[in-house]
């Protein structure tokens, strides 16, 4: 028996398996809802809030909310787009994101969202926090200036024994994602590649390969983020 249910996103009739999270269901129906902390295969937490939609007047994170039969979802509407833009701006001002010299430029999801929402300059004052770079691992550099604390590395970068190489340290405004010093030194080439790939920004960069992808061949050089879903 089919578990397909019907629902609407911005008045468009959609169908998906019952229990599918809205963000995934939208993707299956050719609708892009932006994400940053969310990634396929990882249990969603809804921490970055960029995927916020409105259901029956309530704001909900679409990565943690399953679709329901007859649900009417608002996503691509002006006030929500402005809210998402604000979230992107807040991420920019709360770190030190200098795209011109960042090797993730062109492959960075945060930068791509900045372009998507036509962020010319943030509407909030810059924090210019003093943050450090951990370059002690032989394989990667963890640049705290660019970290948006999405936890993707914590959830996905684990050794053969299932130990996470990254972890949260401190609390509140001092919270940071750090690399375990011991495991960091034992990091394999494959894990280093994966860590850089899974980081949505330029906070985890693999050593000594910087800028080896020419401009024109980077992920977002020719197509906006999400355009592969809406095409």
């Amino acid at each position: 028996m089919s578990n397909l249910i019907k629902f609407k996103i911005d008045s468009k009739e959609c169908m998906a398996e019952k229990g599918t999270f809205i963000v995934d269901a939208a993707r299956e129906n050719g609708i892009y809802i932006p994400t940053l902390c969310n990634m396929p295969g990882v249990k969603p937490k809804g921490s970055c809030r960029i995927c916020t939609v409105r259901i029956n007047g309530r704001l909900m994170t679409s990565c943690t909310t399953p679709v329901a039969d007859g649900m009417e979802i608002e996503s691509n509407v002006a006030d929500l787009q402005n809210l998402r833009k604000s979230i992107v701006e807040l991420m920019f001002v709360s770190g030190n994101h200098f795209c011109p010299s960042c090797e993730k430029s062109g492959n960075c999801e945060l930068q791509a969202l900045g372009y998507l929402y036509q962020m010319l300059v943030p509407r909030f004052p810059y924090d210019f926090p003093i943050r450090k770079i951990d370059a002690t691992s032989p394989k990667i550099i963890k640049d705290q200036n660019r970290c948006i604390q999405c936890k993707r590395c914590i959830k996905t970068i684990k050794d053969e024994q299932g130990r996470s190489l990254f972890a949260f340290r401190n609390r509140g405004h001092r919270l940071e994602v750090v690399l375990d010093q011991e495991l960091g030194h034992l990091m394999t080439e494959e894990l280093a590649d994966l860590a850089m790939k899974n980081c949505p920004v330029g906070s985890i960069i693999k050593k000594e390969i910087g800028f080896n992808t020419a401009i024109g061949n980077r992920k977002f050089d020719h197509h906006a983020i999400g355009s592969e879903i809406t095409l």
Binding site: P100, S101, G210, F211, A214, I215, G216
Partner: protein, 484 residues
């Protein structure tokens, strides 16, 4: 009564500077200075960054010649990643970088001649400032203006094809390059519709040179005698003495042509060159250690390069080089305004080199990067359009930059630019009560001949206006003129 004249800001140069000129009560010039009033500090904030970021990060100190900084930093990092210098890279790696560099030379020299300097030649040093600018050139000499714009465009397109972007690309990486040239790109540059092809660019470069030579013939006294003074000259030259803008050994000659720096390996530049700090400028004053501050200063740039080089390895530029050298009987040329002449010979050379490189199949290769045993320190030198550019980096065990030293082309020309200002100020302002706009522009013409990039020199960003102030001995402002 002592007077002080200040020209701030200086116009039609890149960056922000001012000139102060002191006069005694008899109208004699007692002191003249070019002050560079910007500050940025790239050498400091690159510290802590991973070394491979340097070519992309440091080039941001300039929007006119970022390719020069990009390549100088990459050359320093070639040493750090164990690729060595010069032919240490793969043929594709080195030739793609050279193509990028000659594209940069071509566009930068075209910018300087057509956009910044041609108004002085076309309308006169004391011409009406309302039309003595690139807009005036475009209105009065539209064909010439179009040539200038299209020559820049061609050079910028070469940069885009090699670096990925026209301004602030990422092509050069430690040990090589991140892309080759596609057949389509090559064919477009070689066979593209007029005027955007290599043959037309060579033809127009010859035309620009003819334009200057005609101007010179009609204004010989001015071109020969304006701010003419002896100096040492420094640049890279190829090991066999040829002009080489990308790589070579470091050579300096004195005003008579005697070698005073004997083709040294630039990794050892710090043994031979010292920088002096003076309190009134953010731009340092380099000099050859062996000869001291008074006698060791030197000029860099087109004039210097054609004084240190023995020949130019492309036929059309070599022919012009021989005519040019005959003007001074083969001796070093110390005529300030001949810098324009030398710059246009280099423009022709760059166009010829671009055409030659485009016909080289190595540009289409796929072997892009070389690495060897990692080093902790590296120096990269290149001949930027404005002169010799030094980048020096040291890294720690974690691949972070711990020391950076940049000696930028314009910095190398600091002392000679100051001397030029003094020379012209004495010539045109001595005994004068009132400062005319023409006098101010004469001082700027002397500075402009060096094509200075004051943003680069202080590693700073800004506009480039000039103001002159006249003050008495108690520092009361008597007169102030500002050009915008």
């Amino acid at each position: 009564m002592l007077k002080k004249i200040t020209i701030e800001p200086v116009t039609r140069v890149e960056g922000h500077g001012k000139v102060t000129i002191h006069m005694d009560d008899k109208g004699n010039i007692t002191q003249s200075r070019l002050h560079i009033v910007e500050f940025r500090g790239f050498e400091r904030f690159v510290q802590g960054r991973p070394y491979w970021e340097a070519p992309v990060l440091v080039q941001r100190l300039c929007g006119i010649c970022p390719v020069s900084h990009h390549l100088a930093a990459a050359k320093a990092l070639d040493v750090i990643v164990g690729a060595g210098t010069g032919h240490g890279l793969t043929a594709t790696g080195e030739k793609m970088r050279r193509l990028m560099h000659y594209g940069q030379f071509f566009q930068s020299h075209a910018l300087h001649f057509f956009h910044l300097s041609s108004p002085d030649f076309l309308f006169g040093v004391d011409g009406d400032p309302a039309i003595r600018n690139i807009i005036g050139v475009a209105l009065t000499y539209p064909d010439l203006a179009v040539q200038g714009v299209m020559m820049r465009k061609f050079g910028q397109e070469i940069i885009r094809a090699t670096a990925g972007k026209k301004i602030h690309g990422t092509g050069a990486i430690p040990g090589g390059i991140n892309k080759n040239l596609s057949i389509a790109e090559r064919d477009e540059f070689l066979k593209g519709a007029d005027p955007l092809n290599a043959d037309k660019m060579v033809e127009w470069a010859e035309g620009a040179l003819d334009f200057f030579k005609n101007y010179y013939a009609a204004n010989k006294d001015f071109v020969d005698n304006f701010a003419h003074f002896p100096s040492n000259h420094l640049s890279l030259v190829r090991k066999d003495g040829a002009l080489d803008l990308y790589h070579g050994v470091l050579r300096a000659v004195d005003t008579e042509g005697k070698k005073i720096l004997h083709d040294i390996d630039y990794q050892e530049y710090a043994d031979y060159i010292e920088e002096e700090v003076r309190s009134w400028s953010y731009m340092k004053f380099p000099y050859l250690k062996e000869y001291g501050k008074e006698k060791g200063w030197y000029r860099v740039g087109p004039l210097a390069r054609l004084n240190t080089a023995e020949f130019i390895p492309t036929p059309l530029a070599q022919r012009e080089f021989e005519i040019y050298k005959a003007l001074t009987n083969g001796k070093p040329n110390n005529h300030c305004m001949h810098m324009h002449y030398a710059r246009l010979i280099e423009t022709l050379h760059a166009a010829e080199m671009i055409r030659e490189l485009l016909n080289d199949p190595d540009l289409l290769g796929n072997d892009l990067v070389v690495k060897g045993t990692k080093q902790k320190e590296g120096v990269g030198l290149i001949e930027a359009p404005r002169g010799t550019l030094f980048h020096h980096y040291r890294i720690n065990d974690d691949d972070q930059i711990v020391m950076a030293n940049l000696i930028v082309s314009t910095t190398n020309n600091n002392e000679p630019m100051n001397r030029s200002v003094n020379f012209v100020a004495k010539a045109v302002m001595t005994g004068k009560e009132e400062i005319t706009e023409g006098m101010m522009n004469s001082v700027e013409v002397a500075i402009r001949a060096y094509d200075p990039c004051l943003s680069c020199a202080t590693h700073a960003l800004g506009k480039m206006p000039l103001e002159i102030t006249l003050v008495d001995q108690d520092n009361n402002i008597i007169d102030r003129k500002r050009s915008h």
